[in-house]
């Protein structure tokens, strides 16, 4: 069976075995030691999928849009991986992951793989493991990976770093002036979807967004986020939305921004890994109980935390 080693799991993923894929995603989420070994094998096969983030306030219709977008991609002959993130309860550590409810039409299609993910304590709309889970789907050969963030209702910077193209979903009825539109979304939005356009107020939302974009100024050659009206429950406007997402990806590629973005992402990732490795190595080099001794001394104000950290790092780094 494909579960007996990290190598076999990785081979299973590359061979298109959905069980190996599902299992490896769990190991990645649990930070199991096998996950890194398997990810290392898969890494050369990543970097091909177009990663699309879908973010926006709770209930704006993100999951319904993901469902419709996946259908459009399938009609165009492309395969789709979906990662849908919902919050972990800070009280129990448990979570209810309910985004699949809106994606039932995608059932039974082998060209689609849906995975629900809990944030597990991470803030900012994604889980810590999301980008690695996306890599696994990328290596598995999905042409597009759609990432639905937690509807936290604020600009989520993490998704903009993880995805190539970020769709910010707005819906009418939250008040239609500029103030109602959250600060920071200009920085992350590549495409706006004004969903629930069947409802009153959609045009005011579009106008407010247009004004905001105008205030932001224009420069030749810079991407101006298009605003697409959609009615996700009927699929209206979704082919248009997908066209804009594709156009944005073409723009990234043709302008050289894609390579730049990839380097930025890689730099963040590498720095985080270095930090992790160094910390692990350093902690392993301490005498048993040494850290606790420092903690006690600092807590009793017998030492200050800055000197303590310096001392630990320099002695440990010897």
């Amino acid at each position: 069976m494909s579960r007996s080693s990290p190598e076999q799991l990785a081979q299973g993923v590359l061979a298109g075995d959905p069980r190996a894929l599902a299992r490896l995603i769990s190991l990645v989420e649990d930070e199991h030691p096998w996950a890194r070994a398997a990810l290392a094998i898969l890494y050369p096969r990543t970097g091909r999928a177009h990663l699309v983030g879908i973010t926006g306030a709770p209930g704006t219709g993100k999951s319904t849009l993901v469902n419709e977008m996946a259908k459009v991609y399938r009609r165009r002959g492309l395969t789709v991986g979906i990662v849908a993130v919902d919050p972990t309860s800070p009280f129990s550590g448990g979570a209810i992951l309910g985004d699949r409810v809106r994606m039932r039409e995608l059932a039974g299609d082998p060209g689609i793989f849906i995975r629900s993910m809990a944030t597990r304590g991470s803030l900012g709309g994604l889980a810590r493991a999301t980008s690695d889970v996306v890599k696994v789907l990328d290596a598995a050969g999905y042409d597009r990976v759609l990432i639905e963030t937690v509807g936290a209702g604020q600009a989520e910077v993490d998704i903009a770093k993880t995805a190539h193209t970020t769709i910010v979903v707005e819906s009418p009825g939250f008040g239609d002036d500029i103030q109602a539109i959250k600060a920071g979304i200009l920085e992350i939005a590549d495409v706006f979807a004004v969903n629930k356009a069947d409802r009153e107020g959609a045009d005011s939302t579009v106008t407010a967004l247009e004004m905001m974009l105008d205030l932001n100024g224009t420069e030749p050659g810079r991407w101006r986020p298009p605003i697409v009206k959609t009615v996700a429950i009927r699929g209206d406007g979704v082919p248009d939305l997908v066209d804009w997402v594709e156009a944005h990806h073409d723009h990234l590629r043709d302008s050289g921004l894609l390579a730049h973005k990839e380097e930025e992402r890689t730099r963040d990732e590498l720095l985080a890994l270095i930090q992790h490795e160094l910390t692990q190595a350093l902690l392993a080099s301490l005498r048993p109980g040494e850290l606790d001794e420092w903690v006690r001394r600092v807590a009793r104000r017998e030492a200050d935390p800055y000197a303590a950290a310096q001392s630990i790092v320099h002695r440990g780094g010897r």
Partner: protein, 140 residues
């Protein structure tokens, strides 16, 4: 490595459109620290097993009120076998007459909980079964 989270799929197969019981169980399992994939109403056995596979769950809980339990449970269990997912724990609740319970258990439905069962009982059952399974102990 962090702990291995327990992941459970809760589904409501069949045509009756009422999922209050399923939602109560989903919340109880969440409050016990588990990750619950909630798939909603009118799930076919095929949809349930596909979701269980993609979500890599430890257990599937089905809420069945429609009286179709003698077709839905066997079908889910058969599909799980076909996909090589026979180690997934299957349990259920809803309105299931006593005389059907032995046959369902024989087929491999490990826990069947009637309408009056406390959520604590179900949470404890799920936790204990999964603990045993992960520890490689035989099931009771």
């Amino acid at each position: 490595m962090t702990e291995e989270k327990i992941r459970i799929l809760i589904a409501k197969p069949g045509l009756d459109g009422h999922d209050r019981g399923a939602k109560v169980i989903a919340r109880a399992l969440r409050d016990a620290g588990m990750e619950v994939i909630y798939t909603g109403l009118r799930q076919t056995p095929e949809m349930i097993v596909e979701a269980a596979l993609q979500e890599d769950v430890d257990a599937i809980g089905l809420s069945i009120l429609s009286g179709a339990h003698m077709t839905l449970f066997p079908r889910v269990i058969q599909l799980l076998k076909e996909k090589g997912l026979d180690d997934v724990l299957v349990f259920g609740g809803g309105i299931i007459p006593d005389q059907d319970v032995p046959e369902l258990k024989r087929l491999g439905v490990r826990g069947i909980f009637g309408p009056g069962t406390s959520t604590d009982t179900i949470v404890e059952f799920v936790r204990e079964e999964i603990r045993r399974h992960r520890a490689g102990e035989p099931r009771q």
